[in-house]
């Protein structure tokens, strides 16, 4: 490896509305290196790469590519400079073969397909990289890993020598990850430079040469892999404990309300998205769920709510096993369970309806007969708007999608709390909300806790989780890697559990 920088980004700032997604970020990539960008969700990793790929224009700062000051205003210009980004969601034509997908949109293509020439070129490149691609295989017959290889190949075929991989391992099995890393190593050997975005520490330690750690829109540090340890990286990733104004309310916890035993679920890619998860939830406690995005939080919540198919295991709630029951059945059994889903407008609320109708969603069945009455819901909506201080021009004929994120969440959470459920499950309740709105949400949750409600709180900000929750359950790749008392453990230990480097016992944390 030499010291030629192929990419130098200096002072990059990007503001979305009031949020600083990137705050004077520095980043550099050497020729022939694998550079990992490490950080929690929302740290700015993807934003930074989108700037490099020409999807976002930075508000401040400059970019040098291969020694030249450049203005990357579109992905096409990025590709002209040799920068190619692997999209997180693959953009392949299902009914086309691998070869046709490669040819489509390639600037080497002539009006009439010269299949033989393309196949020759593809064959050479495939052999060089040792990739497992059959040019004649149709995309719909491919596994996720094959599709990913094809996407990588597409980018390389179009002449990219700086490759950005955004969370490439999230959808892969361990064996497929190994293959991917082999390809990455071969690409580097042929002179490419690779940026890999991830939050998995093990992978970082395995594949990268240098590591840049990002947190909350800033670069913390760039380190050489040889000079660091996973512990140090986890520490930098999560940062020091922050003083937050998230009140912890001590409550003497009550009896066991929910018993989750050994639940397992499999996602579309045949990956165990929940892997023998077991835990209990007690009255008057907030159980935090921590974990890297996609560790099974969504499936756990939806599994409890009867929305995600669980392959095995039991969920005992009020003496009944609710696994295998859909929400209709669960409510018919007289079990009142409130789930505040992550996807507020796509699941929790109907975006085009007004507040009254959205309150009605959970109300309309209570009225006898065929009809619905908006009167009760109107009163409830009015009370909700007043109590939670929702700022909206009207509760009627004003779609909730026109409200701000914080107000949308207030409507959703307010509606669920108003139902006086016996169990409250919230997923990313404060995602995208400003400090003030988040504060109101925390207070609402604490209020429910004092009323001896059992609450499951899935969160992403460790500082918040640690100050709000009574216990924190850490998920990593669908497994529970620890259930800890946040007041008796360190943020770093939780960070290591999140990355699956360490389990509860090893971190030396107490079991609550």
């Amino acid at each position: 490896m030499n010291n030629d920088y192929v990419v130098k980004m200096e002072n990059i700032t990007k503001v979305f509305g009031k949020v600083k997604a990137l705050d004077h970020v520095e980043f550099s990539l050497k020729k022939g290196e694998v550079h990992a960008i490490l950080g929690e969700n929302g740290a700015g990793k993807s934003s930074l790469m989108n700037v490099l790929n020409g999807i976002y224009m930075p508000d401040e700062g400059q970019i040098e590519v291969k020694g030249q000051l450049v203005n990357i205003s579109s992905p096409k210009i990025a590709l002209d400079l040799g920068i190619g980004m692997l999209p997180q969601h693959y953009k392949l034509v299902d009914v086309f073969s691998a070869m046709e997908n490669v040819a489509a949109g390639s600037r080497k293509t002539t009006p009439f397909l010269n299949k033989k020439k393309i196949l020759d070129e593809m064959g050479k490149l495939i052999a060089q990289l040792g990739m497992d691609i059959n040019p004649n295989k149709k995309v719909y017959e491919m596994s996720v890993a094959e599709k990913q290889s094809l996407e990588i190949f597409k980018v390389l075929y179009r002449g990219a020598d700086i490759l950005i991989l955004d969370e490439p391992t999230a959808v892969l099995t361990p064996q497929e990850i190994k293959n991917l890393f082999e390809i990455v190593k071969k690409m580097v050997a042929t002179g490419c430079s690779v940026i890999i975005i991830t939050h998995k520490l093990e992978e970082v330690m395995e594949i990268s040469d240098r590591i840049t750690i990002m947190r909350k829109g800033t670069t913390i540090q760039t380190v050489n892999k040889a000079e660091t340890t996973p512990q140090e990286l986890a520490g930098m990733m999560v940062g020091d404990m922050m003083e937050l104004n998230v009140p912890y309310v001590p409550v003497e916890r009550g009896g066991k309300c929910l018993e989750v035993k050994d639940i397992t679920a499999i996602d579309r890619n045949k990956v165990h998205i929940l892997d023998h998860v077991s835990f209990d939830l007690y009255a008057g406690e907030i159980l935090g769920v921590a974990g890297i995005a996609g560790s099974g939080q969504k499936e756990l919540c939806e599994g409890i709510a009867g929305l995600y198919h669980l392959k095995s295991g039991e969920i005992i709630f009020e003496g009944e096993n609710i696994v295998g029951k859909n929400p209709e059945k669960i409510s018919q059994m007289g079990i009142s369970l409130s789930f505040v889903p992550e996807d507020r407008l796509g699941m929790g609320l109907v975006s085009s309806m007004d507040i009254i109708d959205n309150v009605l969603l959970k109300d309309y069945r209570n009225k006898k007969g065929m009809g619905i009455s908006r009167e009760v819901s109107r009163d409830k909506a009015e009370a909700l708007v007043e109590r939670l201080n929702v700022s909206t021009p009207a509760i009627e004929n004003h779609a909730v999608s026109l409200l701000s994120g914080g107000n949308i969440q207030k409507v959703l959470l307010g509606r669920e709390i108003e139902l006086e459920p016996k169990l409250l499950v919230t997923a990313y309740a404060t995602r995208g909300l400003d400090v003030g709105s988040s504060q109101i949400i925390y207070e609402l949750l604490n209020e429910q806790k004092v009323k001896m409600k059992p609450i499951m709180y899935v969160g992403e900000d460790l500082d918040v989780l640690m100050s709000l929750c009574d216990r924190i359950m850490v998920l990593c790749e669908g497994r529970v890697t620890g259930i800890v008392d946040p007041r008796k453990t360190t943020k770093e230990a939780i960070g290591l559990m999140m990355s699956g480097v360490m389990n509860e016992g090893e971190a030396g944390c107490s079991i609550s």
């Binding site: 929400p327 796509g346 699941m347 085009s352 309309y364 009225k367």
Partner: protein, 354 residues
């Protein structure tokens, strides 16, 4: 370069102004065609109005054209509200008419009230089944209902052709491929050109208004149409809701078959629909899938249809000219929807915004 950008929700005033100017512009453009056809546009337009409202008889003819379109549009609307693209109203219409004729053929001697009641039930069932088939496959196997319902139109049409040319061919029609006219005891009673189907339509409109806005199932259909995830989340039985919506949608279109056979044409034939099943799709969309607007727009379309048939005879212009005028007005109104929802911005202003 110009870009197309979505606008904020337009104000009611803006909507009225834009739509009115669309109609005026359409009339202006249509005038050119009228002139070429050798008529005076102003007189012709006045003629359209006279053709629709000039006498009680003409007004009755307008209403007669409105009723089937109205009920078809309401039927289509129910399915569309659920994002279930039922473009098979033609087929359900035909099947309803087949069911009606079948009742008469099987039980020709029923007294009129019983006969009508039975025909309503059977035509509803025939139309409903014709839509339940694709609905079942959609709910169960995720098939594409757009193609499915469209294809069923042709099956229904072929079936009616077979009945008309072979199985149910009237032996008394001197070899003409024709199905026998319905007997007296199977015709909708009428007075002064207004027949009983108007009353049926009024009842259907009121029932549908309740169904869409005040009933649990109507609310569930609306939620399901907006987001299947939300529907599942609040515990709506998705399959059941799809089937019920299909039942109502197809059933209403089927009843139109009964109304037209017993009230207007007097016999089943391949021409009985007059393409209204497709026009209904346009009416339902232009009305924003809202019952009151469906009523207004069905009437507006009926005026165009009746006016067009009147001016053909009164002004001796070819029928195609009248159809062209209709088409031009429709195009302008559809175009005005675009103007209401989008605006153009040039590249330069866009980058300033970004």
């Amino acid at each position: 370069m110009l870009h197309i950008v979505k606008k904020d929700v337009p104000k009611t005033r803006e909507k009225i102004v834009v739509r009115l100017s669309a109609v005026l512009a359409a009339l202006a453009v249509a005038s050119i065609i009228v002139l070429v056809a050798g008529a005076n546009p102003i007189e012709l337009y006045i003629g359209i109005v006279q053709g629709c409202f000039g006498s009680l008889y003409r007004f009755a003819a307008t209403i007669e054209k409105m009723v089937p379109l109205l009920v078809l549009s309401l039927g289509v609307m129910v399915a569309f509200k659920m994002r279930f693209w039922n473009i098979g109203a033609e087929g359900q219409f035909l099947m309803g008419a087949v069911g009606t004729t079948l009742v008469v053929r099987l039980l020709p001697d029923l007294p009129l009230p019983l006969m009508l009641l039975l025909m309503i039930v059977v035509s509803f069932a025939f139309g409903a089944v014709w839509l339940m088939i694709p609905a079942f496959f959609k709910a169960r196997f995720g098939t594409n209902e757009t193609l499915f319902t469209l294809m069923l139109n042709y099956i229904a049409l072929t079936l009616v052709t077979a009945l008309q040319y072979d199985f149910w061919k009237d032996p008394a029609a001197n070899g003409m491929p024709k199905i026998a006219n319905l007997p007296e005891n199977a015709l909708l009673p009428s007075a002064g050109g207004f027949n009983l189907s108007i009353l049926m339509a009024v009842i259907i409109v009121l029932a549908m208004y309740y169904f869409m806005n005040r009933s649990k199932i109507g609310f569930e259909i609306a939620v399901l149409g907006e987001s299947e995830n939300t529907a599942r989340y609040i515990g709506i039985n998705v399959t059941k809701t799809i089937i019920i919506a299909a039942l109502v949608s197809g059933g209403l279109c089927g009843i139109v078959g009964m109304m037209q056979t017993t009230g207007v044409s007097g016999a089943l034939s391949t021409e009985i629909t007059g393409g209204l099943g497709f026009t209904a799709i346009i009416v339902a969309w232009l009305s924003g899938l809202k019952v009151p607007f469906v009523v207004v727009n069905s009437f507006a379309f009926a005026v165009l249809l009746q006016g067009a048939s009147y001016i053909q005879t009164a002004f001796q212009i070819p029928g195609s000219v009248a159809e062209m005028i209709q088409a031009i007005i429709l195009f302008f109104i559809l175009g005005s929807e675009f103007v209401l929802q989008y605006r153009f911005v040039s590249d330069k202003t866009k980058s300033e915004v970004a």
